[in-house]
């Protein structure tokens, strides 16, 4: 047990700031933006310190209110969630920076409420990651989701309706998760994850435990939008405001994947997964279909944000595939892909946001000749696209490499074929757009004069800086993935896999 304050600061600072922001907002609206940046910076800083501590000392336990687990709630940091917490907090910070121009332009009057929800969303996601208590996880899951529903509803056109559908799905998912907690509570009388892991092994054959497992997986699958439970995702992320989809799209699903890993390999141990291998086999087949479906459906889209949303569905397939392969390489791939995909999706949605902000163009064919106007944004797009396709040395390649090794080790040839084939489909998807941007001359459309206009009309710096940072991450963290794997991820893989 640790008494160092950093584990709680990760959550507490954004949480308290989110309550403070409406108050400050009444007084000075301009203070909100620096305030959320300060809060998210403290949070990111604490998570980095914790990652450092975890790498030095191993797992950290933090007991809320000094109540010892399993009675009290504890926050636990091992290599897995310290790593994910760093990703989540840094990404929220960068997206927070980028939110400025959007908020100023679209709804400056309600900026305080937007930032409040934004911080609550970040808090919820971070809470999911840090907590070591199954029920507490549910609460954070719902905090994040509720903030997400509201944030998505801010968007244009069909946003409220999309958000409403998302809410129906999300609530069912959360309820299933809660039922899973309930069934485990019946048989063990505990809610603490580590405690559950200790108590469960003798009970693996009992029906309530199996039912709980099923509820958990289905519930989390809805939350992370695993095919065929992804139906809410494309609409919600298409209509959400850009800053929101850039925060929610990369993080919510990744945190869902994190929860899935926690459930399958911490609450239930690898030995359970091995004993009931049909579950993981099913999961890997489902994710194979998710990859295929996501890629092919993305091909059919003309709206870029919607296309990205379907790409995201495919990416979730990759992540779930790594879990379903149930071997060391596959899981390494998934954990690495959590980081890589967060960066890729954040950068894709930021690019889409920047273009929509600047020009209002949402359709692919409208993007022709944009590289003259927004060279940096388009460069970021190209880098990200190459990473999504899986071209080395971008980071996306390396997670696919581990996933491929996992598939080969598991002798899942179909999975290997789909992994490779999907990157070809991704290549078609993205090179189609790149071709339009760089090689197609601007066609006739209403705002022609604005595009023909030579010279830069780049996105504002508040959008560009995060984008460029993500792009830099995509380029450099791929090559550093060896260090990340040997320093962090290999300890995050549970024993016995």
């Amino acid at each position: 047990m640790t008494t160092s304050p950093y584990p709680i600061l990760i959550i507490l600072v954004p949480l308290m700031t989110s309550f403070l922001i409406p108050l400050v907002g009444w007084w000075r609206r301009s203070l909100c933006y620096p305030l959320i940046l300060a809060a998210l910076t403290v949070s990111a800083f604490s998570s980095l310190i914790i990652l450092q501590m975890v790498m030095e000392q191993g797992t950290i336990h933090y007991h809320l209110g000094n109540w010892d687990p399993p009675w009290g709630i504890e926050y636990v940091f091992d290599h897995l969630n310290a790593f994910v917490a760093v990703i989540v907090s840094l990404t929220s910070l960068l997206i927070g920076i980028s939110s400025k121009s959007l908020v100023e332009r679209s709804f400056s009057k309600k900026a305080a409420f937007f930032y409040c929800l934004f911080l609550l969303q970040a808090t919820g996601l971070l809470g999911i990651v840090v907590t070591g208590d199954a029920f507490n996880l549910y609460v954070f899951l719902e905090i994040a989701s509720l903030a997400g529903y509201t944030l998505i509803a801010i968007g244009d056109d069909g946003a409220p309706f999309a958000s409403f559908n998302y809410m129906l799905y999300g609530t069912v998912g959360a309820c299933f998760y809660l039922l899973g907690v309930g069934y485990l509570y019946i048989v063990t009388g505990s809610l603490n994850m580590a405690d559950l892991a200790k108590l469960l092994p003798p009970l693996y054959q009992s029906k309530p435990v199996l039912i709980a497992f099923a509820f958990f997986i289905v519930g989390v699958a809805i939350k992370m939008a695993l095919f065929p439970l992804h139906v809410w995702l494309p609409d919600a992320y298409t209509y959400a405001p850009s800053a929101v989809s850039a925060l929610i799209a990369p993080l919510t699903t990744k945190v869902g994947v994190y929860v899935a890993i926690r459930i399958m390999y911490t609450i239930f141990t690898p030995s359970f997964v091995k004993e009931f291998s049909s579950a993981t086999t099913l999961l890997s087949w489902v994710s194979i279909f998710a990859i295929l479906f996501g890629c092919i459906w993305a091909l059919a889209q003309t709206d870029l944000k919607r296309m990205f949303a379907y790409v995201l569905v495919a990416e979730i397939g990759y992540l779930a595939l790594g879990i379903g392969l149930a071997n060391r390489n596959g899981l390494t791939g998934t954990v690495l892909h959590i980081m890589n995909d967060t960066m890729m999706m954040a950068s894709l949605f930021l690019v889409a946001g920047a273009v929509v902000t600047k020009t209002g163009f949402r359709r692919i064919d409208q993007w022709s000749g944009l590289h003259k106007k927004m060279p940096l944004t388009m460069a970021v797009f190209v880098v990200t696209a190459l990473s999504v396709i899986g071209i080395p040395p971008m980071c996306g390649f390396f997670s696919k490499w581990y996933l491929l090794l996992g598939a080969i080790n598991a002798r899942q040839w179909v999975a290997a074929a789909v992994l490779l084939g999907s990157s070809l489909v991704n290549a078609i998807l993205f090179f189609r757009v790149i071709e339009v941007i760089y090689f197609r001359r601007p066609a006739e459309f209403p705002n022609q004069d604005r595009v023909q206009h030579e010279g830069f009309e780049e996105a504002p710096w508040s959008l560009l800086i995060p984008m460029l940072l993500f792009a830099a991450g995509i380029v450099s963290l791929g090559l550093l993935s060896g260090k990340i794997v040997s320093g962090i991820i290999q300890f995050a893989i549970p024993e016995g896999l």
Partner: protein, 157 residues
């Protein structure tokens, strides 16, 4: 969209009832540690009293007492009380929400400080729940009042 009910019985009844409801709400909050109750329940009762007020009179009457701005402030303040007490424990060198640390500030022993800490938190929760109940009610009840502002809120372009 709550039209004024010109009904003397209802208005007078409410005028009598509301103080008692609010008192009961406060009791439930304060007595939460020893009997069923606490911040959530008490807060809901308090909120209900205001809802009753606005049902019996009209939205404006209740809003005069708790305006939207004041509501949001109450909401935030309640939560800040909650997380602030936890943070004070943190600042006093304990873990988050370790109330017994409060005995450094309060002239009582750690065990009693723990009880006081919980009470403080219940108060915070109660205020927030009351404010949230009210704001949900106001939002649902006031259908067309600030439509212009809201539609501008929903545009991405």
């Amino acid at each position: 969209m709550i039209g004024p009910f010109e009904d003397v019985v209802i208005r007078t009844g409410c005028r009598v009832l509301i103080p008692f409801i609010q008192l009961y709400g406060l009791y439930v909050i304060a007595h939460g540690a020893d009997s069923p109750g606490g911040g959530f329940q008490g807060g809901v009762i308090l909120g209900a009293s205001f809802i009753l007020l606005s049902l019996a009179y009209d939205g404006d009457e209740a809003r005069k007492r708790v305006s939207e701005k004041r509501n949001v402030i109450l909401c935030s303040v309640g939560l800040l009380i909650y997380s602030g007490i936890g943070a004070i424990c943190l600042a006093l060198g304990g873990n988050y929400l370790n109330y017994s640390r409060l005995h450094h500030l309060l002239p009582v022993d750690p065990v009693y400080a723990r009880a006081l800490g919980i009470f403080g938190i219940e108060v915070g929760v109660g205020i927030t729940v009351m404010a949230v109940m009210l704001s949900i009610f106001f939002d649902l009840a006031s259908e067309h009042e600030d439509q212009g502002e809201r539609t501008s809120f929903g545009m991405d372009r």
